[in-house]
Amino acid sequence: MLDAKHGGATVASVRDLKVHFQSKRGVVHAVDGVSFDIRDGETLGLVGETGCGKSVTGRSFLRLLPVPPGILAGGSVMFSAHEVCTGCEGTGCETCEGTGRKAGQDRSVNLLGIPSEDMRRIRGDRIAMIFQDPGKALNPTLPVGAQIAEVFLQHRTDELIALAGLPADTVGAVRRFASQSPRLGDGWLLSLPGARAQRRRVEEALATMVAGALAETQVPNPAKLMARYPHELSGGMRQRVMIAQALACNPDLLIADEPTTALDVTVEARILELIRNLQQRRKTSVLYISHDLSLVRRISDRVAVMYAGRIVEIGTTTEVFANPRHPYTRGLMAAVPGADTPRGRLAAIRGTVPELVDPPAACRFCGRCPYETSACRNNDPFLEAITPSHLVACFIDHPAPSGERPNYGRVTA
């Protein structure tokens, strides 16, 4: 449905991303050769167990990884900001070849390679992130309004000055105030009569913009909420503040890292609905990271299943959930208690996620997979297509270079 609407242009494409961590026991291959695309306006769900590398993948988009001990061992994250085609305004026409984007040369950048000042301009503006725990991600010493305001001060100085009714060529202390880059003595300069009035107008404009951003998240009485500190708010409210902050600049890509895990189910449903509404209205692409399968199924257009630093299966939500091909995907689905599962008969996946220190050239699911054979233990499967949109890394569906191939008919362990 998205391909038809947005022409399937990619907003970001990850190619062979490798993130390793130096530890006492050796180099941990947290993300080990991950490739996927995120298209315009789509939601890609990224699921997997704790420690499979899904958060690290999400954070690498914004370069939020600690380096060291992290090592960007290879690969790229190409990002191309939306530039809507002038001919058709995004609906797809001949000049833009149906992509809805401005034709011309490729304007994409490698997020892992650009200088940090460029990254800073993208972060929070073109790519934003919602974190799992809003209690930790918000600054406890600042009212929430001031925290949302920072996004506008960093990325929307010109709009702010225009909204305040000041000339676009405003310079000096007032502009520095509106771009959050004060210099020594600015406090004094801004206290001078003329500048003081201008400063107040900027502050009022800022408050309007912040209230507008909060109102988008359907909070009651945004003006009152702005003055509150994070600890005064409930978990659901804090998460709404974080969403308001993330969507403030209308980003092209939103990374949502388990945004509802810390919330009650009743609140979770509300937050999901909110993210989906805002996304549809603004055509934002979302990378939705979660360990909750039923939730990912509800929100995603496509799903990628991650295991031990690799993507083992990726496809449209319907394909993956109706016809899971990788034993790990099947295992995850069977482990969720259903209405008719007899008690004590949950299909648990035996064992735990392996440590990713110098992994051998074998399928990473070996040791936990009920169907493994010699082919799995001696060869490393890679993602191959079953249908044009459904890719799986397993020898059940693809020929193995050597050894006996596994199949679903035979349980070997």
Partner: protein, 420 residues
């Protein structure tokens, strides 16, 4: 000491009767008590031998507090937990000496956070072996063998004896907690969100383990959780709590087939399971859980219930809550002169604001049920006099097949309701 009305049955282990747990709120230099947080506010149910009772609700509804009261980790403010000791029901907070020790060994607890509940400086052998030592169940000579036996029951082994908790994964640590709870061969285990910190695949392992142990040892579980799919899988009976009170109780399957309380319905609708139709509409609850220090009158759920009727206990606080969320209204409120919870005079700083309120509460801006419950509404200059129907507590009523629900609506009315 035993009251005559208490239930008597051989298979009864614990009987929770009208348990209340209130925590004082202290303020000022003298730490004067200015109110109470009513974490648990009158809850009753029974736990029988070999069964699993599920206790579900949102965070802050008092389910963990109740679990702690039942495990005698907190004393109830009122009411009590009665324990079947050799055919006699005795209140656990009045037990002394040997009887108290007997209760403690027969009622164990597994906590949510295995990082916090296992001492990081102790080895597994100390953690699991301590109850055996305290109750003189094992001497140092056979302690190791007993601990190994317990570890093997939970899927660990001899090689894990001399390790510290941090050397284990989350699932393994939860297994250690379970082994410790099993050490004294208890009758009942309070499981406080035992799997919510775990991945689904590991959760499945732990749930299977708990089931096997239950069958082997005829254990009773009180399973405290917020995860409905887990509770449906595990529990024979279900107690749904909201804001310190029981909203609904009964057989698990019956409740899932037809919830009798709108809150249960909302909980179930918020999280459809993996098998459900992918296109099923999902909507959560609007608003926050009200302050448990001042719980709503009538039915506690009426502030968030889309099915609320005029008989659900609309009160002055509902008007004040509405004012708080209405942009630019709360600032004009200068005083609330309360005659009862249901009648008050709201004073504003201008006649205009008072007029706006009296218009608003007559309009679509407030729930229809709230308008219908309004007995009187007078605009008097800058004051608004408002009075609602006086409604008593809406308590649990018995339904068919041992079910209980605290709702004024009939099951058919709850079931037939569709979202607009």
């Amino acid at each position: 000491m035993r009251a005559a009305a208490e239930p008597q049955a051989d298979d009864l282990i614990l009987s929770i009767r009208e348990v209340k747990k209130h925590y004082p709120i202290r303020e000022g230099a003298l730490q004067r008590v200015v109110g109470h947080v009513r974490a648990v506010d009158g809850v009753s149910f029974d736990i029988r031998r070999g069964e699993t009772v599920g206790l579900v609700g949102e965070s802050g509804c008092g389910k963990t507090t109740l679990g702690r009261v039942i495990a005698a980790l907190a004393d109830p403010t009122e009411g009590g937990v009665h324990y079947n000791m050799d055919g006699m029901m005795s209140r656990i907070d009045r037990l002394e000496g040997k009887a108290a020790r007997a209760f403690r060994r027969n009622c164990q607890m597994v906590f949510q956070d295995s990082f916090a509940s296992l001492n990081p400086r102790h080895l597994v052998i100390d953690l699991v072996g301590r109850p055996l030592k305290v109750y003189n169940e094992a001497t140092s000579a056979n302690l190791i063998e007993r601990v190994v036996e317990l570890l093997e029951q939970v899927g660990l082994g001899r090689q894990h004896l001399y390790r510290y908790p941090h050397q284990f994964s989350g699932g393994q640590r939860q297994r250690i907690s379970i082994a410790r709870a099993l050490a004294l061969n208890p009758e009942v285990i309070v499981l406080d969100e035992p799997t919510s910190a775990l991945d689904v695949s590991v959760q499945a392992q732990i749930l299977n383990l708990l089931n096997d142990l239950q069958k082997e040892r005829n254990l009773a579980y009180l399973f405290v959780t917020h995860d409905l799919s887990v509770v449906r899988h595990m529990a024979d009976r279900l107690v749904v709590m909201y804001l310190g009170k029981v909203a609904e109780a009964g057989e698990t399957q019956a409740i899932f087939d037809s919830p009798h309380h709108p809150y249960t319905r909302e909980l179930m609708a918020a999280k459809p399971d993996l098998e459900a139709d992918a296109n099923v509409e999902v909507r959560g609850l609007e608003g926050n859980v009200p302050d448990p220090a001042r719980p709503p009158r009538g039915c506690r759920f009426h502030t968030r219930c889309e099915l609320a009727t005029p008989a659900c206990g609309w009160e002055v606080d509902d008007v004040v809550r509405w004012l708080e969320d209405a942009p630019g209204m709360f600032e004009h409120l200068v005083g609330v002169e309360r005659q009862t919870d249901f009648a008050a005079r709201l004073a504003f700083d201008s006649e205009e604001a008072a007029g706006l309120l009296s218009m608003a509460v007559r309009s679509e801006q407030v729930p229809e049920a709230m308008r219908a419950a309004m007995r009187r509404l007078n605009l008097d200059g800058d004051k608004v006099e408002i009075e609602f129907e006086d409604v008593g507590e809406i308590g649990l009523t018995a339904r068919d097949d041992g079910r209980m629900a605290a709702c004024v609506l009939s099951p058919e009315e709850v079931a037939s309701w569709k979202r607009t």
